[in-house]
Symmetry: C2
Subunit: 258 residues, 2 copies
């Protein structure tokens, strides 16, 4: 398989850095091809702006939606963006690894999504009509590929449990797993989570490493999260609200899973 790891941690000798190295070594030993986008090492530019296109602006002012589209359609994107899109096309599986900072990813990785997920590539794809509202949420450029989060937290597992004060980890990660991964077509594997990362001693590290290698050995057989696909009858079009008879009386983001 072709595996792409998108990695964001400022310190290569951190727990995250060590586990990333372990993953690369294990995947290569297992005969897979691996590419790593180590965003800190690459000094990835996080900020989406008018420098992301080499084309003249389409209007009087920079429009992130239309200018990105023109650049994508005409191969006039900044080369760092195009290179990451090529890695995504190449990959069978993409792993996003990061420490959870303020209940989301580090800015440098958010900027990877802001810029690489261009109009025409990750959104604005497919027809919009009465029965099909674009290729998204289960369809799209990245359909047929798998993605998985590998996330460490400082906080305790119970604080992220179903009734934990931070919000359940499934809900906290929904904007990422559903909104960034399922949206352009990925099948999303359950995340691997490391809580209280600062408390990792040698014994725990070995456990995490074992768990990670097992996840890597089972990437192609792990059932993905059962997010509902958009264009297959569960949602009204174009309101894109869940049909009343589904998850009746339920509230919360869980309703978007089968």
């Amino acid at each position: 398989m072709n595996v792409h790891i998108v990695f964001a941690h400022p310190e290569p000798r951190s727990l995250n850095g060590q586990l990333k190295d372990d993953a690369v070594a294990h995947l290569q030993r297992s005969g897979h091809q691996v590419q790593v986008s180590d965003l800190y090492r690459m000094q990835w530019k996080p900020t989406l702006d008018a420098q992301d296109t080499i084309a003249p602006l389409r209007g009087e002012r920079f429009n992130p939606i239309t200018d990105a589209r023109y650049a994508f359609d005409n191969a006039m994107q900044s080369s760092d963006i195009a290179a990451e899109q090529e890695k995504l096309i190449w990959a069978d599986v993409v792993i996003f690894q990061f420490p959870l900072w303020w209940f989301s990813m580090p800015a440098i990785m958010k900027g990877w999504f802001d810029r690489v997920y261009a109009n025409g590539f990750a959104y604005g794809v497919g027809e919009h009509n009465e029965t099909h509202w674009g290729d998204r949420y289960g369809e799209g450029t990245l359909a047929g590929k798998r993605a998985m989060l590998l996330v460490s937290t400082g906080g305790w597992e119970s604080h992220y449990s179903a009734r934990g004060i931070n919000g359940s980890i499934d809900d906290i990660l929904f904007p990422i797993q559903h909104g960034m991964l399922f949206y352009p077509g990925f099948d999303v594997l359950p995340p691997m989570l490391i809580y209280r990362a600062e408390k990792t001693d040698d014994a725990r590290y070995i456990e995490y490493r074992q768990q990670l290698l097992h996840r890597l050995d089972t990437l192609d057989e792990t059932p993905p999260l059962p997010f509902r696909r958009q264009n297959y009858g569960d949602y009204e079009i174009p309101s894109l609200t869940l049909r009343p008879e589904l998850a009746e009386g339920k509230s919360g983001l869980r309703m978007h899973m089968e």
Copy 2:
């Protein structure tokens, strides 16, 4: 009042830029003091790294938690970070204005939180004991201040409704409103939301402007979102799970509101 606007949009002549200018002018006309952190104009550094402290590293490798703490405690933070912390201390109200990109804020603003919300300032504050688990979620450095989001989306309002495919806007914004604003002590006012921002014509712009000025005129009387405070009996300590008799049988992030 002292109002601090943290603004992230790459194009000053955008709808967001226009509304930000309208807000500043209106607040000043009304006799308030205003400071704006226009992150794109400031070329804000989004990436948290070892350059954020002028102190030597505390250990053999960069640790974002302990090195930020040492720098904060010893006035050795990067000056751009300290300046933003001072604006927060100065402010009575902070408005965060941004377009919703991939169900969160632009990277440049995420990097504002990653860096300005240092250990000792926004987290790691207060005692941890059997009845009090740090000053957070309703207590903390920013307690007594108010915060409000002003967010534009490309998508339709129904797609963000209670049963909309994107997830309800309340749930999508929970990691921000609860995790970034309520956490260090802000009272969080209901957000002002602009859907389908690309479809804004002159008539709609005037509506949005009126709505915004009304929100600005009522900043001190608008009831905040009723997030449950951590240390006042609703959560078990230290598991920080909601007591079983509260929001019984409910699931979803709504349980964390009274």
